[in-house]
Amino acid sequence: MDLSYPAEDEEFRAHLREWLAGVLPALPPKPPPEDWPARRTYDLGWQRRLYDAGYAGLHWPVDAGGRGATPTRHLVFLEETERAGAPYVGANFVGLLHAGPTVAAEGNAAQRARWLPPVLRGEEVWCQGFSEPDAGSDLASLRTRARRDGDDYVVSGSKIWTSHAEVADWCELLVRTDPKAPKHRGISWLAMPMDAPGITVRPLRTLAGSAEFAEVFLDEVRVPAANRVGEENDGWRVTMVTLSFERGTAFVGEVVACRRVLGDVAREARENGRWDDVPLRRRLGRLDAEFRALWRLTQWNVSEAERGGVPGVGGSVFKLRYSQVRQELYDVAAEVLGPDGLDLDRQWTADRLSSLSYTIAAGTSQIQRNIVAERILGLPKGR
């Protein structure tokens, strides 16, 4: 049990901190959440700065253009960027955290050379075409079909809850290539160019009022067969690799950010007099315990991943508690704000609304519990 970081990682931390202190004050102001083109430009600009400074794809393998950093060093990177209030990964989320790692792990040499460098350099944005109107948590029930025609697949169907679809260059798309096969087989993983004819993107408004994601309609869209990652009909296994990345590492930096928000909530309570409310103060103390433990659980998972490479189902344990505690954090923030907790101009009110998605996105809490029960505890499958 060792919680101290190696000297070379501490040296890395010092350099990163210095670089962040130099570059962050010169950053342009963050665009409004509704302005997707501006957000794309902003997020890609930040990615380019990371790339030029040698921080892009820190945790990606070297032969995929990354720096091959250990999970511990990646943890230091996430800790420091969050502490300094650096921009979030934003529109680069899917490219950097799902599609990129999936292509790096499962793609051939040509695919890696084509798709990975533009993600790292901040030139191309990816979106995720997994969910469908009738295939959310039951993802394997997806119906978007791809028929082989010469060197192309011809794709028809629709996808939903697709974040960044309006500004994406590529879509990691799950399609049914064998309708007769059992539902977990017969699925393939394709990289679809978003400018192909036959694609219609219709933004969807979230309960938070913003257009965070979209519906994507696919009408006879031609995707080259060379864009298939992994074998035909082996897409479910490839997808499990993708989801393990999403569940394993995607929320790490947010824990640091939440602890900062919790501190701000405490300060606000002190300033507006709510600090004298004993039950409220105790809830803040309890949340501090939760975020301390979540951070330690992160360090535990990172230590495990340092041996295993691909993060395992332990991410489900983390995600279950984190998504719940994040919602409690913003509930308490609203309590501290009092009447202003109903004001959409307060950041915490907007964040409270968006936190409602955390127990749904990337597999609902109910699905995560099934995963924990069946794959970690070994309970039988059933209804």
Binding site: A289, L297, V317, R369, G378, P380
Partner: protein
């Protein structure tokens, strides 16, 4: 950074577990809870023994206590120069986690903390009790009592294996005692999670194992999540020895143990509500341990105050 257990720590944990399985397995636990029925004058067994909540006060197994002493349980953190094992808090936490898993009774924390200060404590020759919060465990069985026990009043204890006295004045809590208690709670939480899973895999209703039902499955998954949160917090607090880390660890470990035992009971259904089941012993012990040292409210207040200090130092 490598948070995982070292090979030596794994070996230590396995050794303690093996010792406790051999010396204080399920049968010994039941024998401690249910003393044999008294034999009548006619030589026939009388009515079922005065076991359980109305029975005589639990007795401490002195031979087991000495064996624990020989195995280094109490002298674990005492320097080798003073006859100890010379290990640290993380190792002590692993040993106490195993004690919690086995439901090992006795003033373990008080005796461990007395090693090097009270003669005979390190070897297990001397049983040491201490005032912790407003309670003293095992007062009547102790050779030495630390703290002020004047006007101590005996309670009829909810846990049949934790005799209790209440004292009028609370003793200030010791962070190490709080951490070792958290470790015991963690062990108990791990055990009730395993018991629930084992039962859910084998008990059939409606033609299938009850663990196939999502409602049961989700109870078990939440138990594991609480165990893993508590484990991360307790182990980290053992490394940092920071009072606020310890406070956080206690909150999560108390929750994992109390709610874990409750959910385990629920998964066991009617069987869980019987005296024969092991589950109620875990729940009652978890309640007893949760009363040691600072209460949850104090831990939450300490964390809140620390949070504010931290925020004001790091704030914009």
């Amino acid at each position: 950074m490598d948070f995982r257990l070292t090979d030596d720590q794994r070996a230590l944990r396995a050794g303690v577990r093996e010792l406790l399985v051999r010396r204080f397995g399920r049968e010994r636990l039941r024998a401690a809870v249910d003393p044999p029925p008294e034999t009548g004058s006619d030589g026939r067994a009388g009515p079922p023994g005065p076991a359980g909540p109305r029975g005589p006060a639990a007795r401490l197994d002195r031979a087991l206590w000495r064996e624990l002493g020989e195995a280094g349980f109490f002298a674990l953190r005492l320097p080798e120069a003073r006859g100890g094992v010379g290990l640290g808090l993380p190792e002590a936490v692993l040993a106490f986690e195993e004690a919690g898993r086995a439901l090992l009774p006795g003033p373990l924390v008080a005796t461990h903390l007395a090693a090097g200060e009270v003669p005979g404590a390190a070897t297990g020759e001397c049983v040491v009790a201490a005032v912790d919060g407003r309670l003293v465990e095992w007062l009547d069985e102790a050779d030495v009592v630390r703290g002020d026990v004047t006007e101590a009043v005996a309670l009829r204890p909810v846990d049949p294996l934790t005799p209790l006295h209440r004292v009028p004045r609370a003793a200030p809590g010791d962070p190490v005692a709080a951490l070792l208690t958290a470790a015991e709670q963690l062990g108990s939480a791990g055990r009730t999670c395993a018991l629930a899973v084992q039962h859910a895999r084998t008990r059939e209703q409606f033609g299938q194992p009850v663990g196939a039902f999502q409602a049961v499955k989700h109870l078990c998954a939440d138990m594991l999540v609480r165990v893993e949160m508590a484990r991360s917090a307790v182990y980290a607090a053992a490394v940092t020895n920071d009072p606020l880390d310890i406070a956080a660890a206690r909150l999560l470990a108390d929750e994992a143990a109390e709610r874990g035992a409750r959910d385990c009971l629920q998964v066991h259904g009617g069987m869980g509500f019987t005296w024969e089941s092991e589950v109620h012993l875990h729940l009652k012990r978890a309640w007893s341990r949760a009363r040691r040292g600072p209460c949850a409210a104090q831990a939450e207040e300490a964390l809140a105050a620390g949070l504010l200090t931290w925020a004001e130092r790091h704030g914009a």
